[in-house]
């Protein structure tokens, strides 16, 4: 690059504008993308623009970096990172080091450099801003600032680790920014110290930047100042060193298992980097980052958390050709735990809610749930009294079917009893607006059967909400045999309206989520019969990445329900002329209920003992009743049994047309039933298994030989693997 290269040749995506005071405004504006990203083009031109600044240094008094888009920068190009394998390590290292060099050249320009953060700055976008001597943010409701890399199995390798540690200190950088991966609003970013200053008027952003430059002509980064020390100290300081041994351990306690590579490398890069100069710290950060980029888990997480989720949110499962729908009035039948939660999310989304139960007290109790949630939110400053009153006023607790007059949406959420469901729905149908969506919230009951007797079965659909409704992001939409495309399209729109991520499945017993999770539970329960210590089973699950132990979960769901579903499934299969093989879990569940009277948490006793409804340790009787106990089993085998049991059933769901897409399967398993996040979802688990689907098939056969035919890989998968394909 020559020093007098024309401004427009080497960095066309960076506007270059010099004012009378010699302040250069560099405006990012990628002509090929709706947002600025740290893609190949950016990296190339960013290095060029930095060199341009150095070339013109004598003529300029400062630099403002801003964006022509509504956002500042969206960060790294995930598509690019998705495919990296260990063979790409040298190339990835070069890319990262190239950005490090350019960013370092920028912050050591010897002139004040202000990031005018006019909109959201995430990941690499924020890392760019951190390499400026001042960050001024535009305080808009949509601006978000953060380093979300860890949620994609990565770490902020563009200087994000190194500079936040130097800016905030090890403890705050790790616990408030890097490990959370949280994107925060402008005010919170200011408080954290990620932004230095806020302006509210967009027209004031660049003037504020220029003013700061005029007032700080000699600005340099704190870490390039003589005598600088990292806030809170370095690992060489006894105070910091004393806390270090517990740092991985406390994270492992939270994770309930080994650290994910991203967390491990992030913490390691932060601590190791804090012991050396900034340039070496950046080098260390790059090495830890490249390992993650080239590893499998970041691929899994990027695929599921970004691409699969994006496909769903863009409406991949929504039939084309129907106008966007917005529900205005909903009748929620049943004000129990589920109904109360559904009423809350609907009211939040602006619907008028009629919450109907058999007694007014019950209906009011259902509304009280929303009151409690709001009081807590107001107390925590997440909402205002006014917002609370507005939303609560939308919920009408009632016993009268007539109050549902004109509702364009009905969501039934009564006890899982087909007759009851049909009766309460029938009672309200006459009052609904014509063409209203009629939804039944059920976790297992076949929708097609429930739709029988409904005058317009095309309007009928299943909506499987997850508990607690206000917290769980997933909605499993179940399409019955007669459900119309129009109803499906509207239901997907309603899901968006209430801010749920919808997956669409075809009607079948247990749909997708309930059916697949029961494989996990049954596998764990079968291990009890084999004399595997219960504590080992729970550790196997949580260390595999499940959010809760399988035995704790089945206690929560209740062993009785587990048995009832099994019996119904067997009966239904028998009616269809099929004899299902008996899962070894069945005998354990039977003995637990019939012999020991331990039906789960609600019964006050299950695989765990309970005191005041809280788990008080595993039931010691398990060791004696299902002995002899085998100690020291390798967890790996147990974990793969759990993961394979679910994955194989998910493949069957694809085969049987229960699942309509791989993305639905992955996202549903992650958001709905706690399938370990690192896998990228229950079907991606098959793709990413060592050796790909072929490796999965081989291992499945091995497990089938050892534990039973339930592990035999479905023919479709065998065929796919033989052709070298992946589940897509």
């Amino acid at each position: 690059m020559t020093q007098d290269a024309p401004a427009d040749t080497p960095h066309p995506m960076f506007g270059w504008d010099v004012d009378a005071d010699g302040v250069v405004t560099v405006t990012m504006d990628d002509p090929d993308q709706p947002v600025n990203m740290l893609n190949d083009r950016f990296r190339r031109e960013f290095a060029a623009v930095v060199e341009h600044l150095h070339a013109k240094k004598d003529q300029i008094s400062g630099v403002v970096i801003t964006s022509a888009k509504t956002t500042f920068s969206a960060g790294g190009d995930l598509e690019h990172l998705l495919r990296a394998t260990p063979a790409d390590a040298p190339q990835m290292t070069d890319l990262i080091r190239g950005f490090h060099r350019a960013a370092r050249r920028l912050e050591t320009l010897g002139r004040p450099v202000v990031a005018a953060v006019n909109g959201t700055a995430l990941g690499g976008g924020l890392e760019l801003a951190l390499a400026c001597t001042r960050r001024i943010g535009l305080d808009t409701p949509t601006l978000r600032v953060g380093l979300p890399e860890v949620t994609f199995g990565l770490l902020p390798g563009g200087g994000g680790v190194t500079r936040t540690v130097r800016l905030l200190g090890l403890d705050r950088a790790l616990h408030e920014v890097l490990l959370t991966g949280r994107a925060v609003r402008a005010a919170a970013a200011l408080e954290l110290g990620l932004l230095d200053e806020l302006v509210t008027d967009p027209a004031q952003l660049l003037p504020a930047a220029r003013r700061w430059i005029a007032e700080h002509p000699d600005a340099v980064q704190p870490w390039d100042t003589a005598g600088y020390t990292i806030p809170g100290g370095t690992p060489a300081d006894r105070r910091v060193a004393a806390d270090l041994p517990a740092l991985p351990a406390t994270l492992r306690r939270q994770a309930r298992g080994p650290l994910l590579p991203a967390v491990r490398n992030l913490v390691a890069a932060a601590v190791e980097g804090a012991q050396v100069d900034i340039d070496t710290a950046l080098l260390i950060e790059a090495r830890y980052c490249v390992e993650l980029i080239c590893g499998q888990i970041s691929t899994n997480l990027i695929r599921s958390r970004f691409f699969d989720l994006q496909a769903i949110e863009r409406g991949a499962g929504r039939p084309d050709g129907y106008p966007t729908h917005r529900a205005t009035k909903v009748a929620v039948l049943g004000a129990g735990m589920m109904g109360a939660g559904i009423a809350y999310v609907c009211a939040q989304a602006g619907m008028e809610v009629v919450l109907k139960d058999v007694t007014l007290e019950a209906a009011e109790r259902g509304k009280a749930y929303s009151e409690r949630l709001f009081d807590r939110a107001v107390g925590a400053g997440r909402s205002t009294a006014r917002q609370r009153d507005t939303v609560l006023a939308r919920i009408l607790p009632t016993v009268s079917a007539a109050d549902t007059q004109g509702a364009d949406l009905l969501i039934e959420a009564v006890f899982e009893d087909p007759d009851l469901k049909q009766r309460v729905i029938g009672e309200v149908l006459p009052y609904l607006a014509p063409g209203a969506v009629v939804a039944s919230n059920t976790s297992t009951l076949p929708i097609t059967a429930l739709a029988e007797g409904i005058p317009a079965p095309g309007d009928f659909i299943g909506t499987h909400f997850f508990s607690p409704v206000d917290q769980m992001p997933l909605l499993e939409i179940v399409v019955g045999a007669k459900t119309s495309d129009a109803t499906l399209a509207r239901t997907i729109d309603i899901a968006r309206q209430i801010r749920k991520t919808p997956i669409v499945v075809n009607d079948s017993r247990g749909f997708f989520t309930s059916r697949v999770i029961s494989q996990f539970l049954d596998e764990a329960v079968a291990m009890v019969a084999e004399g595997i210590p219960a504590a080992t089973i729970e550790q196997a699950a949580t260390q595999a990445g499940y959010p809760i132990g399988a035995l704790a979960l089945i206690d929560q769901i209740s062993l009785t329900l587990n048995r009832r579903i099994r019996q119904e499934t067997v009966a239904a299969a028998r009616a269809a002329g099929l004899e299902l093989s008996v899962h070894p879990a069945a005998a354990v569940v039977d003995r637990m209920i019939d012999e020991f009277g331990r039906a789960g948490r609600a019964a006050g006793a299950g695989f765990y003992d309970y005191v005041d409804g809280r788990r008080a340790g595993l039931w010691p009787g398990l060791a004696t009743s299902f002995g002899p106990q085998k100690l020291g089993n390798p967890l790996f085998e147990l974990q793969e049994r759990m993961l394979f049991a679910e994955a194989i059933d998910a493949v069957r769901c694809l085969d049987e047309g229960v699942l309509r897409s791989v993305a639905d399967g992955n996202v549903g398993s992650l958001l709905g039933i706690g399938f370990p996040a690192w896998t990228g979802g229950v079907l991606q688990y098959v793709n990413q298994y060592e050796g790909g689907p072929g490796g999965f098939v081989a291992r499945g056969r091995e497990l089938a030989g050892r534990y039973g035919e339930r592990f035999a890989p479905p023919a479709s998968l065998v065929e796919l693997a033989a052709g070298g394909g992946e589940l897509r």
């Binding site: 690992p235 006894r238 060193a241 270090l244 041994p245 517990a246 740092l247 991985p248 351990a249 406390t250 994270l251 492992r252 306690r253 939270q254 309930r256 298992g257 080994p258 650290l259 491990r264 490398n265 913490v267 390691a268 601590v271 190791e272 210590p533 219960a534 504590a535 080992t536 550790q539 196997a540 260390q543 340790g617 595993l618 106990q629 100690l631 020291g632 089993n633 967890l635």
Partner: protein
């Protein structure tokens, strides 16, 4: 596979133990009697004692001074053994070697010295160890094992106290069992002290003016009972819960639901200051200088076990040691195992089937304290004294060690 005794090459010479002496152990805090004494001075005092006990000991023939020091920083840094050589006015030709195998350092110093001699490459070596825990706290030297997050996470690091509680939980040693062991350690130490069993080897620490600073182990609490110990609060429960270490331990020992935190200040080794020296030389140098051998180092072994449970290394180390010598537990008259925590000797005795009357017969570190780098050398002296008192033949000395190592030494009376 343990190698057969015949596989051990014949030595150039036996490694003879001419003497083994030690300071009393002072409480390892600012109020402790030895806090006002430099660690190098503890060593110099013992060097002077060796010279005055053995007038024939020609310093010019000493090849090396090998000392175990677990936290070799600050007062204990800069190769203290060489510093001690110079401070004691020994010839410039004598080397100094500081070594660290955590709690096994003092025994490793004996083993390395014996190996130097037995190989024929050195003739006379002063082995030993020193630790002023009141001046240089444990852990002051950092290290990747615990302070580098990657290494820490990958090796499932937990502090020793949590490991000791894990051993107790896995083995089913309840609070009463470990407390009973602790009381026995105190009682046996009290009997040994009052019976004068240690008299031959304890060298009072004196100040620069010759005034006695300490002439007895000041950590002991012979009045302890199971009831009195029962009132003490577990030391590692809070650390295990808040620091996340219980979770880490249970993730590895997954068949256990929770850790029973049974160890406390009364059934764990005392934090103390102290030093010990062992004079080791060849048969020839003994004859030349007129030194009378008291015993010999027959064999040494190091081994290791899982670093998370950490303190179970003495068992594989001892098995290796016995395998090398073709001996069994029945052939050994005395076992000395460092009482880092009560569960450690209990597990060791259980693993190897060692009867109570052969193990730590004069008490141990629970009663008298564990000056990290010095303890192994102290145990050699204690074992040798007791073999002589009983007119017995063989003793095995062993220590559990950080990160899961074990070290063991077989000594025999000359």
């Amino acid at each position: 596979m343990p190698s057969s005794p015949s596989a051990v090459p014949p030595p150039a010479t036996e490694a003879l133990i001419f003497d083994a002496i030690r300071t009393p152990r002072g409480r390892g805090r600012s109020a402790g009697s030895l806090h006002g004494v430099k660690p190098v001075s503890l060593v110099v005092g013992l060097i002077n004692e060796l010279r005055s006990r053995h007038p024939g000991l020609d310093p010019a023939l000493i090849d090396d001074v090998v000392l175990g020091i677990v936290t070799p920083v600050g007062d204990q840094g800069s190769v203290l053994p060489r510093t001690a050589v110079l401070a004691a006015g020994l010839p410039d030709t004598i080397g100094g070697l500081q070594l660290n195998r955590f709690c096994g350092s003092g025994l490793e110093a004996v083993n390395v010295s014996a190996q130097k001699v037995r190989s024929g490459w050195d003739r006379l070596v002063i082995a030993g160890g020193v630790e002023s825990m009141s001046r240089v706290p444990l852990g002051s030297d950092g290290g990747a094992w615990m302070n580098d997050p990657e290494t820490n996470a990958d090796t499932s690091f937990v502090p020793q106290g949590v490991s000791a509680d894990l051993i107790a939980t896995v083995e089913g040693f309840d609070r009463e069992t470990v407390d009973r062991y602790a009381v026995r350690s105190q009682q046996r130490a009290a009997v040994a002290w009052s019976g004068g069993y240690f008299q031959k080897s304890i060298v009072a620490v004196r100040d620069r003016n010759g005034v006695i600073v300490l002439d007895h182990d000041e950590h002991m609490r012979p009045e302890s009972t199971v009831a009195s110990l029962g009132r003490l609060t577990p030391s590692f429960a809070a650390m295990g819960a808040l620091g996340g270490f219980d979770a880490v331990a249970l993730q590895r020992y997954h068949w256990i639901e929770r850790i029973d935190h049974v160890h406390h200040a009364g059934n764990s080794s005392g934090i103390v200051d102290g030093a010990a020296l062992v004079l080791i030389g060849s048969e020839q140098v003994g004859r030349d200088l007129g030194l009378t051998p008291r015993g010999r180092v027959v064999a040494t072994a190091t081994s290791g076990a899982d670093p998370t449970i950490m303190l179970t290394g003495p068992t594989p180390a001892t098995r290796k040691l016995l395998g090398r010598t073709g001996l069994t537990v029945d052939d050994i008259d005395l076992f000395e195992i460092n009482e880092a925590f009560a569960a450690v000797p209990l597990k060791y005795a259980k693993d190897l089937g060692i009867p109570e009357e052969k193990i730590n017969v004069n008490g141990g570190a629970i009663a008298m304290g564990h000056p990290l780098g010095a303890t192994g050398s102290m145990l050699i002296g204690i074992a040798l004294d007791e073999l002589e008192r009983r007119d017995a033949r063989r003793a095995v000395v062993t220590l559990c060690i950080g990160a899961g190592m074990g070290v063991a030494t077989l000594i025999e009376r000359a």
